[in-house]
Each structure stands twice: as C-alpha cells, then as structure tokens.
Symmetry: C2
Subunit: 331 residues, 2 copies
Amino acid sequence: MDVTIYEVAQRAGVSIATVSRTLRGNGPVASKTREKVLKAVEELNFTPSRLGVSLAEGRHAANGIVFPSLSGPYYTEVLLGYEEVAAELGRSVLILSTAGRTRVRDLVKDLAGRVDGLLIFGHTAPDDVVAELVQVGMPLVFVSREPLAGADTLRSENTASARLLAGHLLDHGYEHFAYLGAPLVSGDDVDERWQGVRAVLGGAIEAVATGQYTVEDGYDAALRLLRRQRPQALVCCDDEVALGALLAAEELGLAVPGDLAVTGWDDIMAARHARPALTTIRQPMRELGARAARALDELITGARSTPNHLTLTTELVIRASCGIHPQEEPP
Amino acid sequence: MDVTIYEVAQRAGVSIATVSRTLRGNGPVASKTREKVLKAVEELNFTPSRLGVSLAEGRHAANGIVFPSLSGPYYTEVLLGYEEVAAELGRSVLILSTAGRTRVRDLVKDLAGRVDGLLIFGHTAPDDVVAELVQVGMPLVFVSREPLAGADTLRSENTASARLLAGHLLDHGYEHFAYLGAPLVSGDDVDERWQGVRAVLGGAIEAVATGQYTVEDGYDAALRLLRRQRPQALVCCDDEVALGALLAAEELGLAVPGDLAVTGWDDIMAARHARPALTTIRQPMRELGARAARALDELITGARSTPNHLTLTTELVIRASCGIHPQEEPP
DNA sequence: TTGTAAGCGTTATCAA
DNA sequence: TTGATAACGCTTACAA
C-alpha cells in the first residue's frame, strides 16, 4: 500500500476531495466523475491509509482486550465472541496478555492509545491506570469483576448459582467440603463463587489455594489436599481446576463419584467429556465477549453514555461427578 | 488522551520540535530545557498520540496474526509466544479469526493496513490476497504451510517424525492402521503428517476425515470408524482428535492400549494427563510464535531481506496410548 | 541548542 | 457538483 489519494486524484483528473467523497459515498458526485475516480482507484489499486483515515476521523476503529493469559478455554471463548462482534462492527481487535509480565502499566496505556475502547478482565489492569482511563472517558467494559463507577461491568451470575450448587451437594448428604481455588482478589468471579458456597455451607467448607486456575495447579493442589484430609466434596472454582482434581483423585485411587464428589464451573467443552462428566455451572462465555463488544460500541458511538452493569444468568448442569443420581437416564 | 504536543510546548515555553526531541531522546536538548519540558509533560499528563507518531514514522509498531479459530491449545500457544515477543519488541498484536467468516479477503486486507507485518497460519488467507501482500512487500511469515516465494515460512518437522512414529507402531506389531483427520489442504502440517506415515505404512493405512480437528469431531469420526472396522492403531492428526478418539474407544468398550492404539500430535498439556497418556509428537508451539515475531521484526526493520524457511525439530514422546511397553518405569 | 516548516494521508468545511 | 485548504498530531530535516 503505497499509492495515495493524490495520485488517484491526479489520474482521475479531479481533486482529492472528490476522490474522498466518491469512496465514502457521502457528498455529491456526478456519476461521470464517480466513474473516472473508481477507474483510477481500480487501476492504481488504491486503499486509503488506515492511519490517515483514523487521524482525520479521530477514531481507531479498533478495540482492545486485556487478559491474564489464554490458558484454557474461558478467556479464549470470550475473546472469540468479542472478536467476532467487533469485526461485524468494523473494528479490529488488539490483544494484551498480562500474566507474568512486567510493566503492565505501560502496556495497558500503550494499548489504550491504539483503540477506541477496552475490554478488561477482572483486575488484570492496575487500579491507577484504570482510574486514569475512566477519568479521560475511555470506553471501558470489565468482565468478571465487581461494578465500578464510570465503566460498564459485565459478568455471569455467581452467588445464586453457588448457593444452588451447594444446596445440591447438601442434598447428596455430604457434610465435609473443600473449595479448590481460593480467591486471589476480592470481587472477581472466583471470589463471588466462594462467597456463595460459603454462605450455604458455612464452617463445613474450607478454601484451598491453587497457583493459577489451571489443570496442573488444580491437580497439584488436590493431590496435596487429599493426601492429608478427605472432604466428601470438592467444589472447584472452575472446570480446569476440577479436571485437575479428577486426575488427582484417580491417582489416589479415589472413585468419583463415590469416594469423592467434584464440581467445576463454566461448563467448558471438556467438562462434558471428562470421566466422570463434570457437574458444573454453565456460563455463556462467548456471549460475554459478544455483549462486551456491543456495549463498547454503544459507548464509543455515544449511543449510550451512562454505565451499564449487567449480570448474565447461568445454569446448574448436573452430570455424574457430584454423586450418584438414582433415576438417571432410564434405558 | 486529549492534550497535544502543542500545549506541552506552549506550557514549557519551547517549540514542539524540542518537546519531541526531549521525549524521544534523539536530538540535543539542554538539560534545563529538558526539565522544563518534562515538567510540562508531567503536569499535563501528556502521551503522544499513537496515530500522529505512526503517521510521521511511517510504521504502525504493530503485528497481525491470522488464524482459523482458537479452539484448542495449538493456536493459542503460538499466539501467546507471538504476542509475548512482539510486546518485547514494542509491537502490539492485532488478531483476526477466519473460521466461519465471510469476506475473509476484506478482513485480511484491512488487517494488513493496520500492521507492519503478519503471521498467517497455513492457508487461512486467500491465495490472491497473499499474492498481493507479497507483491507490495508486506513482511509475512507463514506457519504450518509449505514454503512460499517471497515470504518466510516456519514450521515444525513433520514427515521424519511421522516415519519415526509409524516405525514405532510397526515395532508394536500392528498391521492395520487408520489416520484420523484426513488432510484438507495440501502442504500444511496435517498433510505432511499423513504423507509421512503413509510413506512407511503404505496400503496398511487409510485416511479418515473429521470435520474440524477438534475433540468433538475426532470423537464422532472415531466412533463411526470403529463401529464398522477395527484398525489396530489410530494415528491422529493432532492431540485433540486423539483425545476424541480415546473417548470413542471408551464408549465402545475398547481398551487403549490393548484393543486399540491411539497416537496424537503436538503434545498439548492434556496429552500428558489423558487416560491413557497420549503417545504423541512434541512440537514447540510457543517457540513457533516467538520465532515468527522475531522473523517479522527482522523483515520489518530491514535487518534481513531474503526470505527464510525454517523447520523446527520435534520429538517423539512415547507414553501409554500406543501399546504395551514391557520394561517401563521400574519401581 | 533551538525553532521553522515541510511532510505523513486522510476528512470535511467552505467557497466557488 | 467541485476544488482549495485547514485540520488531525506527530517527526525531522534544515536554518538560525
């Protein structure tokens, strides 16, 4: 891409203004002129410089997204939903992964300078940068964190489903529980889930830390836990941790369900295919991303100016891992 | 971000050229002047507009990446390696997912207009667009496809490892095979793998199609296959398909290994944790991404101008799924 | 050591 | 219906 609007104008024998009008389809253009212009555009294979357009329009036509990493399907799914809708709306997507990275502050600020709006997961961006962005009016939507003034927040319902899940486990007759994946920051999804189950299970459940919320760390943490005590049910903060717990149980020769119940969260693809299939809370990940993109669009175009705080509903999906269900799948 | 270099200059009582020099640290600036400028920058909280900088510098300081989707860890891992190194080099990353999308041509062209260089997976970008990009000299690196004139190509070794794998299976004494995940385009990784195993196994192996290379489609395809015939070994085009095959085998009551051998490709995290653990070919996915970013940097900065075609080495990882290995893990 | 001014490639206003 | 021309926000010769 090297040819500019000037060369097109010259070739077509018109001014650059006319070329611009023709291409954008706004101002009036005589149809004979239009044809000359289009011909020149065609011949020169002209594409307007994105930089020139953006500078003049005063917008990037691009969105950013900040996530910790892409381990596991959760962030990936949200990202795909986000990118798809963003593309529909004519916006590109710039990504920023913060996990294990130094100078996150600068990276986020740089990213913010390249986009019209930002989707930020939980607390992946430093509070002061967030404050700054809110301050300057940058359109922002946060996913998986508590509401914040001056920005949209979007999340799936956690506490009510947590109670539902806890209730179901009580119905199975369990009395001793552990929550695998202790919350790291307050107010995010993992924390809300923990608060929810604890509200029902009270002293009968104890939070156990994992490193990250991955299969590996879930496996390690579960192994350590199960070697020194035997809760009857392991409520995991997400499906990946739960898959890790399943592996640990197998390694220790514990039957799931039977010796141990395990539950997850999110309903990632692997949850259905796990052995045993995971009881979990389904969260509409793709939709989270899609909605975030639309919300951002509203904010950017000015179709809306007051922040929205939305909570999507979830669904308890009961499968095999949480215990024996007598009248299941009659033949 | 609303304050411009003019306001800073005015406040500091200097010209915009001096502000620019100070901030970029190139031209000479008296230290007293520098301080005045920095003070003004501080007070006004000035950040140079990315658009202005890019337009003047004639570069985006951004890279693009084109992939089909992000299902499964392969693309994700490459993406993470890519983004990490790109960030190190001061470049942002724009993504484009093409799966199930219409107007891919336009999307790729638009993306190309926003970046200094592009990583493209296999054949995810239409050939004519690719030709056009090569034509105009856009720095390009392709991952997982056959060498192409005018662009870097980068891939992991496939055929030699395929032979190695096939040989190992022959050593197990198998005589009837199936290759799950028939190649869709010629020249990509999946095709090379197929060519490699077929070179060794000849007529003893037959290619079986899956939809996409996912756990679900692998499961479906394996189920259909195993219901009508019983190869002794299932060579899968990647680990996800292999995981699906494992599920299908379990569903049919086939023991793996024993009744059936299954192998994968890539060595994703789940391969190690699968039951049985997957025999597979390890491919350095993260490094693929990292190298692509560096290669692009060389091309963009002009440190190199002739295309490179690099093949990274892989490793056969023998685990349990390919058959019984007598003297394994002595206690 | 500093400032002036010419780009960089568009869009859009205002006259003609 | 068209064309000058002023933004948009910066970098960087070139002069001073």
